[in-house]
């Protein structure tokens, strides 16, 4: 059924259709609308056989999800930014214990300086924690990926983060096709745990493991996650059969046939990139797009195959590995090792900086003639940066950087728009 609703609402309705049995919630922008909507559904009876727990922190949220999942309940939570960091220890444990929790991450920057706006720093900081990470391009994909995620998580017995751009998707009203309960039931079987706490057959979960077997346990976690690379395309094909549309998958290419230049990115910025690529294609540029849906496990072979024909790739990412450059870019470079491609990294949209078609147009033209630096910060205000650098050269005690820059740009809590 077609609906014009907020992204958060769409995700909440999709999660409800997956028949979760335990939802634990702690509010943090921009994720809050999702768990609020689920709370309402449990309260008014629209979502039955589900325990909804308000917890006192994100650490508690993930701890409750771990306990519930270990007891055999289909478990869901959502978070963002500092919330994800605060639950970090439990996040690693959920993966290490092999518990198939599904969590929405409404991607948001990490402080300091405190910033509530979108980038991918939060989930990418957890890239090695053992969770799968799937990135949604629009709200339709965000809701679809949750349905797929429960099935995949429970088949592998591994937790999955479904990542959607905070505000840009979570707070956007757009058209979505909401599946029926019958469709979701046809696609997602009831949860059959691979391990469960059962008084009739007692086991302990979470043993201490010493040097004699720790490496092996970790290897098996890696091998298990890599299995998803086979399952995800298979599940995407089945998704198409049941729901009649393409969603999920490891990655998506757009106009890459005969492309000399391929732009690689994740999340909602792919829409703006595709519009820009259409413009450039119309002007005769041979340019295409590679959208990565599955960031963990990283689809090395599929990325290499998608970039095989091109001469250069540009990884445009909403994250920064301080002291190195890109995060997604490093993963892509690993995939194309030995292929002789030129590769560029573009850091864009940090902390909610708008990524505009105009800036992308100019950037992609420069890339096509190999005029880009290896690492570019899109639309960086060099005037502001250089003024601070000069200040720091002139004085030792220059004070906090964030406050100094706010004074320089004349922002006192409001922007023009």
């Amino acid at each position: 059924m077609l609906k014009q609703i907020e992204g958060s609402r769409a995700v909440a309705e999709a999660v409800a259709l997956c028949r979760p049995e335990v939802i634990c919630a702690y509010p943090i922008s921009p994720q809050t609308h999702i768990v609020e909507a689920l709370g309402e559904m449990v309260k008014d009876g629209a979502l039955q056989d589900c325990e909804y727990l308000n917890v006192e922190s994100e650490f508690a949220a993930m701890s409750v999800a771990i306990g519930a999942s270990a007891a055999g309940a289909r478990s869901y939570t959502a978070t963002a930014s500092q919330g994800l960091l605060f639950m970090a220890e439990a996040v690693f444990n959920a993966a290490g214990l092999g518990l198939p929790i599904v969590m929405t991450v409404a991607n948001r920057a990490i402080g300091a300086p405190i910033n509530i706006w979108n980038d991918h720093s939060d989930s990418l900081s957890m890239r090695d924690c053992g969770w799968l990470q799937l990135f949604a391009e629009n709200n339709q994909e965000a809701l679809d990926l949750h349905i797929l995620a429960f099935r995949l998580a429970e088949e592998l017995s591994l937790p999955i983060m479904v990542c959607m751009d905070g505000f840009i998707l979570t707070h956007a009203y757009e058209r979505v096709d909401m599946p029926t309960q019958a469709q979701v039931d046809a696609y997602l079987p009831p949860y059959e745990p691979r391990q469960v706490l059962d008084p009739a057959e007692p086991v302990s979960i979470g043993a201490m493991v010493g040097p004699e077997a720790f490496m092996e346990v970790r290897y098996l976690a890696h091998a298990k996650q890599m299995e998803a690379l086979k399952l995800i395309p298979q599940y995407a094909a089945e998704f198409r059969k049941v729901f009649g549309r393409d969603s999920g998958g490891l990655l998506h290419t757009y106009r890459t046939e005969d492309a000399d230049t391929v732009i690689v990115a994740m999340g909602s910025v792919l829409g703006t990139i595709k519009d820009t690529v259409d413009e450039l294609r119309a002007a005769g540029q041979r340019i295409g797009v590679l959208g990565i849906t599955c960031f963990r496990p990283f689809p090395i072979a599929a990325v290499a195959a998608a970039l095989k024909q091109c001469k250069r790739f540009v990884v445009l990412e909403k994250s920064l590995a301080v002291g190195l450059g890109g995060i997604l870019a490093v993963n892509v470079r690993m995939a194309v090792t030995g292929m002789g491609l030129k590769g560029y990294t573009v850091i864009a949209g940090l902390g909610g900086r708008a990524i505009t078609q105009k800036s992308l147009h100019a950037l992609f033209l420069k890339a096509a003639t190999d005029e880009l630096d290896l690492v570019t910060f899109l639309d960086l205000d060099w005037r502001v940066v250089n003024r601070q650098i000069e200040r720091e050269k002139a004085h030792r005690r220059t004070g906090p950087v964030a406050e100094a820059l706010l004074r320089d740009v004349g922002v006192v809590g409001v922007r023009n728009y």
């Binding site: 014009q4 979108n118 629009n138 757009e174 703006t272 519009d275 990524i355 078609q357 409001v414």
Partner: protein, 192 residues
């Protein structure tokens, strides 16, 4: 694609207005994308929301920097925020005020714009009368339907029914309908 930017203050229903405009367009079978400016909104602080309307899927995710239409819910913003930034020369402007553009000191600015696309309506008064609260967002959508012809009044009314129920819905429908009629009459008398 038609792009609308709505300016107002926290508490005036700016974000809701953009959402309702997108619902109205959806009711007409079109694609629409509404989103807020994602600030740290507080009551009274300047707020912006955006709505794109199109006949095909909308992929663009940048803020609306060159709007086809502006709805200004609070005229005091004219002296605080560059609300007209990027407005297309043939764009629409709808301001919530009982004053004229000249009385607002905008004669010089609007001289280069198409006069039939400029409009003011006292939406706060209409809201107070019909809804009992000074929230001008919904009557302005009625006025916008009239001045722009981009969206039908019936679709706005459907969107009101989606967002509100009972007396609040009825009051808002009355306010939007009256705003629509006022603007139609103004346009007809101006171009008669």
């Amino acid at each position: 694609m038609f792009q609308v930017r709505i300016h107002g203050r926290g508490g005036q229903g700016v974000v809701t207005a953009a959402e309702m405009l997108s619902i109205a367009a959806f009711e007409e079978g079109r694609h629409a994308q509404a989103f807020p400016s994602f600030g740290s909104e507080r009551t009274g602080a300047p707020v912006v929301a955006f709505c794109r309307l199109a006949d095909k899927e909308i992929r663009l995710r940048e803020p609306i920097m060159e709007p086809d239409a502006l709805i200004i819910q609070d005229p005091t913003l004219l002296y605080q925020v560059d609300v007209f930034a990027g407005l297309k020369p043939d764009g629409y402007i709808l301001i919530n005020t009982s004053k004229t553009f000249a009385e607002l000191g905008l004669s010089d600015f609007v001289a280069s714009h198409l006069p039939e696309r400029l409009c003011t309506v006292s939406a706060t008064e209409l809201a107070l009368r019909h809804v009992g609260r000074p929230v001008p967002n919904v009557p302005l959508l009625g006025g916008f339907a009239a001045v722009s012809g981009i969206i039908r009044l019936e679709s706005v009314i459907k969107a009101i029914r989606v967002k509100f129920s009972g007396k609040v819905a009825d009051g808002n429908i009355a306010a939007a309908t009256e705003a629509y009629k006022i603007v139609r009459n103004m346009m007809e008398s101006a171009h008669a």
